[in-house]
């Protein structure tokens, strides 16, 4: 057997055994569940930012649409939770497409300004909702995911649920970026004029990238809602959007493993620095600066460079 497949199997076993390793450390499993959620959210952002080259600074809005959408659908329409999660993510996808339609003409900072505005609009809607249906600043309580009677109510159960979701979403992403759609995204990022000249409908693919990205992040948001079972507006402020970007840039864009490493690293750092919570934005800002100035490819970029070097030597 090749070294690669051996290490893959080892990794799978390790991932399955995480709850066992942490059996006396419930907090550890809790964090791993959150890492799973963020991997999905960041992988979505990566599709539009890393692959298609469109900066979104308002992805917390999709996180919110997923979370509130699913929780509200469950409460008011009494639909089963897994279904509400999918519906909420689909709604976010449609909203993403609607937003991307006019925004696809915008480039660089104009696009990011539009996404900032969008993030702010959704935040305001959630914080001061019509009729107070979201509970505004008091927050909103919701249930755990219910898989045909099996409640995903413990951290361990959620961990496995998240593991399955992460694998599913990463597989989807892998297939997408290796297809003609993925090449179209990259071509647009690299040179949108040439992409246009090569017969790629740039506008259409920008919308596809943005909508897919919204689906990922919104689904992650709905996972968050039913994991914590309580949501309030502050989770979905622009601070969250900045954290998404920090995670993605820190881990490394346009890759499968970058978002994984970025989500894990930033979240662990976040937990470790709980006592300095009021300096959170300062820390993100500092991290972004370090990444942009010293390690432009993120953690993934550094590792890849090492491997490439070794390949050249041997």
């Amino acid at each position: 057997m090749k070294l690669k497949s051996v290490s893959k199997i080892l990794l799978a076993v390790l991932l399955l055994l995480v709850p066992l390793l942490f059996r006396n450390f419930n907090y550890g499993i809790l964090i791993c569940g959150f890492i799973g959620i963020y991997i999905i959210a960041i992988s979505g952002l990566d599709l539009v930012f890393g692959y298609c080259g469109q900066i979104s600074m308002g992805h917390a809005a999709f996180f919110a649409i997923g979370a509130y959408g699913s929780a509200l659908l469950h409460k008011y329409l009494h639909l089963p939770i897994l279904l509400t999660m999918v519906i909420a993510a689909v709604i976010a996808t449609l909203i993403g497409a609607l937003l991307a339609y006019p925004a696809s003409k915008l480039v660089f900072h104009f696009l990011s300004l539009a996404t900032v505005a969008f993030g702010e609009i959704v935040y305001q809607l959630v914080a001061q909702s019509p009729g107070g249906i979201t509970g505004n600043f008091t927050g909103f309580y919701t249930d755990s995911i219910n898989l045909l009677g099996f409640k995903i109510s413990t951290n361990t159960r959620f961990y496995y649920f998240a593991l399955v979701c992460v694998c599913g979403f990463l597989l989807m992403k892998h297939r997408l970026v290796k297809s003609k759609e993925g090449r179209a995204f990259l071509a647009i990022r690299e040179n949108s004029h040439a992409a246009d000249g090569m017969g790629i409908d740039v506008k259409r693919y920008k919308i596809i990238a943005f909508a897919t990205s919204a689906f990922y992040t919104a689904f992650a948001g709905s996972m968050y809602a039913h994991y914590v079972r309580f949501i309030s507006p502050e989770t979905f402020s622009n601070r969250q959007s900045v954290m998404f970007l920090t995670m993605l840039l820190f881990g490394g864009t346009a890759s499968l493993s970058g978002p994984i490493m970025g989500a894990a690293a930033v979240l662990l750092l976040n937990e470790g620095l709980r006592f300095a919570e009021r300096y959170q934005m300062l820390i993100y800002g500092f991290m972004l600066l370090v990444v942009i100035l010293l390690m432009p490819g993120g953690i993934y970029g550094i590792i890849k460079k090492r491997i490439d070097k070794r390949r050249v030597v041997s």
């Binding site: 997408l176 297809s179 759609e181 690299e190 040179n191 004029h193 017969g199 790629i200 596809i208």
Partner: protein, 250 residues
Amino acid sequence: MLTVKDVTLRFGGLTAVNNVSLTIKQGTINGLIGPNGAGKTTFFNLISGVYTPNEGEIVFDGVKLNGKKCFEINHIGMSRTYQVINLFRKMTVVENVMVGLHPKMKSGYFSAILGTKGQREEEKEVLEKALDWLDFVGLRGNAYEMSGSLSYGKQRLLEIVRALASNPKLLLLDEPAAGMNSKEKEELFDILRKIQNLGVTILMIEHDMKLMMGITDYIFVLNYGKKLAEGTPVQIQNNPEVIAAYLGED
């Protein structure tokens, strides 16, 4: 196959292309020459859809192109290269050609996500085709390098083959020999002949007159946005107006 009729393009008060008409015949290699700033590249941008003419019409293969977008014009069968190299630098050489094959691919978004059999087979076919195209210009050995790391001459060839991959009827080449050394230019000469033998019509801008006179069937001369002359290479070489435009009148 391409008919341009009384086309004018203005940028505010500046008339970049002024009442130009020309006809390109199927299967020929055509040159477009003129002093710097004559409007050659602007003319390319006009027929490939970057700009829409203020007046006149462009008909390609029976279809009126006015107002059509670049990617639509590509689908009709016209492809191009750029004066400034416009490769997808952080994609591999073969991926660049696969992007060129994009309009030919049928499988859609959901078949990609689901990884259907048809989609995977199409991917394989497209990869094979792209590698064959790289053979065509002798770049197969560089297939998995980043296109941005190729030498200048090879980048030019890659641009040509990326444009060729979509099987265009008409290929527009904007200074394909710029930055090439004499050996690379000889290779280019052969490649252009091979492209012609595929049945592809070529319209090219080029400053290398030796190459131009040697390979083209017909030449159009632009000066100050107007068509100054047209004819066979020999006719152009002996045209006093063209000589005056290049060397300055006295």
